[in-house]
Symmetry: C2
Subunit: 224 residues, 2 copies
Amino acid sequence: MTDDFKPNMNAYLPLRDVVFNTLREAILRGDLQPGERLMELQLASKLGVSRTPIREAIRMLEQEGLAVTMPRKGAEVAKMTLKAMEDVLEIRGALDEFASQLACERITEEQLVRLEARKQDFEASLKTGDVKLIAEADVNFHDVIYEATGNPKLVSLLNNLREQIYRYRVEYIKKAENHPILIKEHEAIYQSLLKRDEKEARLSIREHVENQATAVKEVIVRQE
Amino acid sequence: MTDDFKPNMNAYLPLRDVVFNTLREAILRGDLQPGERLMELQLASKLGVSRTPIREAIRMLEQEGLAVTMPRKGAEVAKMTLKAMEDVLEIRGALDEFASQLACERITEEQLVRLEARKQDFEASLKTGDVKLIAEADVNFHDVIYEATGNPKLVSLLNNLREQIYRYRVEYIKKAENHPILIKEHEAIYQSLLKRDEKEARLSIREHVENQATAVKEVIVRQE
DNA sequence: ATAATGAATATTGTATACATAATACAACAT
DNA sequence: ATGTTGTATTATGTATACAATATTCATTAT
């Protein structure tokens, strides 16, 4: 048999994964707000499945830091205290700098080209004013850098940290006055990678992260 | 009522957590070997519970990186490829250095005292030759540093990374010829924290981590 | 009014049942 | 022997049932 049609036999996804993705999206998008209860029966009927896959999805969200459950009381969408967010931001700062350093050593020419394209996509997205689009373009830009580390575990770790932060970052993106800053910062990051200048890359990423940190923390403070 | 007897109302632990802890321990201790299948029915009967808590515990192990499941085929204890381990070690190196730096800034006098005590406990444990005891003493030493960062999220992240590494590190600890090296390295780390010398702390931790990395990678290579 | 009490109800925890896919293996054909 | 097909068995995926705890809210006592 000239086996060249390899049907994508991975069409199958367990319901727990479907549910997990659905809930995760809902949390990140803000449809499920921090502190909101995740009631199994309610979610089950809403998603048209039984409680079993819901429960398993909740266990997964829990380890992802997106849900918190108290025995016998149930789960709720994780809400951040200021301290918890500062802790996350601290880690994220360190790892993002580290990732940029690695990227300087390892990024390919092809990836550099893509990085510039993503940078421009981001600038274009700002003009639309569509927050969801902007957030996505930003993710895409940074993903190229993450990918350039060649370390998939680091990528998923950084993605996880980003998840915990980004849902509190909408406000920052919304404000047009911040847009020029973001453009400049992305440009600086791009340039330092182009030059493969580790020191400069770390510095430009640090500034980028710190600016966001300030904004995110303000959101949390207002919320508390 | 002079409420000063606060009965530890937290005697209750869901079975999923009991199962999770049990399996986690078994994996780390090596009772469940990398690649070994985790069959629900078998585990359920062995632990005297139903499949439900087993499944939920597996979902938790999965997110912890200790188990891997393939849809419709079941879960097995995660086995490391050399590349995956290198990736983990790379992250762990970066974060451990970062933690040491933070610890230099934040460690309290009390914690410094405890660190020295743990350092001596560790040296004592080496003399017993009891691998489990040594590993524990080592964990205790480093935990003081982690704790000194004042960042619980970072602590749990580091503990998770450690988990993924330590089960491959037994051999290294076993060999008596490595013991003097470990003692020296711990001493160097302790001294740099005592002086709150961030640069030196980073360097001494880096060396410590790198030596372990070499040993761990050898174990993986032999296994493959 | 306020606090305490106790059904009624809602929600989680756990076990079990049933459906479906994966696996092992025997029987058969080549 | 090798390979193939079909069947029995095993294991997972999902739904449901039952048990136990939390919560709610009306009732009662103070």
